[in-house]
Subunit: 228 residues, 4 copies
């Protein structure tokens, strides 16, 4: 169930980014039995529960990219994350999204400060590396101070009568946003393969890891087959 | 829940085409409260149950084509219909499908015979009209006999050793097929607007009418707003 | 350019299925330079022509499934194929389709007769095998005769006044249809991987092979990287 | 053709937002003849050029939402716009996008300053109104100063060794970005209906107006039928 306020996590959620963000599971439809039954539609058969044969079938489907049976399992998540994570996420066009709009509300501004800043890697493929030489406290303080300065300018603009939709332009991409996101299991698996990987930015990767933790109990054979 | 055999309807279903076909509701996710809550994400709010304000909001969303909140409500149907209806249905590309395959099974062949044949209209926009002059019994008998003749040739080809995937080419488009179909409420509403209309072929229209009957009890305000 | 009549192939086409079907290239947009430039947008750069570095980049993109740059290259094909091939094809939901409608026209009925019938394989994964024991002439004659019988019944139903949209139900899935199909290169590559494979039915595989032949001259590095 | 540098507009472009942004037409495929021919595929006919009958057909298709023939006309645009416009744009999931990445490059930072700030409207449906009481110069100066302050903090973070992908978090949503965007005419028409409307934010509306200007010369009958 959804919480009273969209910036509060639902009952079933995982905290990420040192507790600054979270991802929650609002609703889901279907199970591993749904997947094998959908696959067996092609043969004109279906069944009530999973046995060892079904687990084998599930693994066969995953290995051979028979993806359509996974589209009858659907999830709705709520996500609380920085804007730059949101932009990476919403490049995935097979999800359905509804997001808090800063055209319509100016309340509850929160901003991300990295729990640990990372160092620039020489190669773009590995965009960042573990920090050896960065002064953590100084960098975090600089980011935090600038986040706060943004709120100051934003508030000043609103007081001057400037509309929210223009004033928000001064708010940094560390601004936290909240959105609902619905996706089927096939497209979720593709998302997780891309976003829980060494190429992905550390911040979005934490959300991918959290989603795996949320759905793993109901999809143990899928998780095992994919090596989660 | 799904029936044991894919050609049998699930518990919750509506018969169509004089009992030759059916559409069943296998699973669903979300409710009218889901829709208004998804819409209110933009304002940073949500709630537990519907009141009169929410019904107004729902109607506002439908009238002004704010379609994204309807994408968090999802249905899985199973459909038993003639191939020519299936082809019209699967032109809708926002659904997920799994269908019985005549490459893999030759059992349970059934064929559609129109309960009433219709007359050709002069205009393509109105492709058929109520029959005045067609000999119903003769036309239905001709169709039925040819459906049966197709099975005869098909069986003969299988006996000769010809593979199912080629032999099926002789089976007529009156062949009944079964498929699972998952769709969100926004795209279902678009489907129903196109397929429960005077432009649609009578046969697929019966399925659209049946779907409305299946989901109407859980979506009374949507149904009322859309004039179902 | 399109031919005068939709059942005639356009200038640039490849015949398939012993000349009974064809696939033509009506239009295309973009080139291999488009792909590397789209990839380089992320770095803020682009260029006019391909060099060796670009060919390496192209291969890197394909190997690492960086698929988005391939979506700015688009093709429109026209396809003439049996209905059962059409149904397999149109399961691919990222294409745009316009197809001849047997609700609207009854002219130009043609039917597929397999140039060689294949034998049923024991396993569904390999649905058919090379024929050893099938009487080719007898099987082909049986199919051809039944295709013709379908036209006879169809014509008789039209003469009785039955509408085309119902009468077509007696026509077999060997009926040839024609459609336009537009797709981007990323989704075309996915289609070709699935349909030019040992799992695919021989008939649709011939179309996949023909499409490779049509686009290969303009996409030599893509073809080489994918082992076409 | 594309310009040498992705932040420079291509030859065919329209400036927007007082010259701070632009939208360019990189490539296109198809014409009004393509649309009517695609529609006529259903009848088994096509032709070489438009006449008055074709213009009527085009209008009929638009009025009756026969959208599929418009999907064989495709455009690639390049867009230079503030991040908050980009986020609104990329909610449209039927487009293909490639965007400059601030994970990979720190060059060419530019920021939007509204040519005219607007006043907050009382109603969310009309998010902003013409300004009566806002001190334009003061508001613009405040925004400009904060944009510049963001660059200062960003540069300082890079100097400290912080990776680009984290440092960018301090940059405001007024940051200008550049992306390539490919879309078919059906989905473009939907985009333009939503974004060139009174409900849309003024900034994205300017891009929608510019796109109409770019494509209107090649699609005069479409433009006329839609009242552009």
């Amino acid at each position: 169930m959804a919480a009273d306020h969209v910036n509060l996590p639902p009952a079933q959620h995982v905290k990420v980014l040192d507790g600054q963000g979270w991802v929650g599971l609002l609703e889901s439809m279907g199970s591993e039995v749904t997947i094998v039954n959908a696959a067996r539609v092609s043969l004109g058969r279906c069944r009530e529960a999973m046995d060892d044969q079904d687990v084998k079938l599930l693994k066969y489907l995953l290995e051979h990219r028979h993806t359509s049976p996974f589209e009858h399992v659907v999830f709705t998540f709520s996500v609380h994350c920085p804007l730059f994570v949101r932009s990476q996420w919403q490049r995935h066009r097979t999800w359905s999204y509804n997001e808090i709009s800063r055209r319509y509300t100016e309340v509850d501004l929160e901003f991300y400060v990295p729990p640990q800043v990372r160092e620039q890697a020489a190669s773009n493929r590995q965009a960042s590396i573990e920090p050896l030489h960065v002064d953590q406290a100084a960098a975090r303080q600089l980011i935090d101070a600038h986040n706060r300065a943004g709120v100051g300018v934003y508030t000043r603009l609103l007081e001057m009568g400037v509309c929210r939709e223009q004033a928000r332009g001064v708010l940094p991409q560390n601004l936290l946003t909240t959105f609902w996101a619905t996706v089927d299991l096939h497209n979720l698996i593709s998302f997780l393969a891309l976003r829980d990987s060494a190429d992905a930015q550390w911040e979005i990767r934490q959300y991918a890891v959290a989603i795996k933790a949320l759905i793993l109990p109901q999809f143990p054979s899928v998780a095992q087959a994919l090596g989660w």
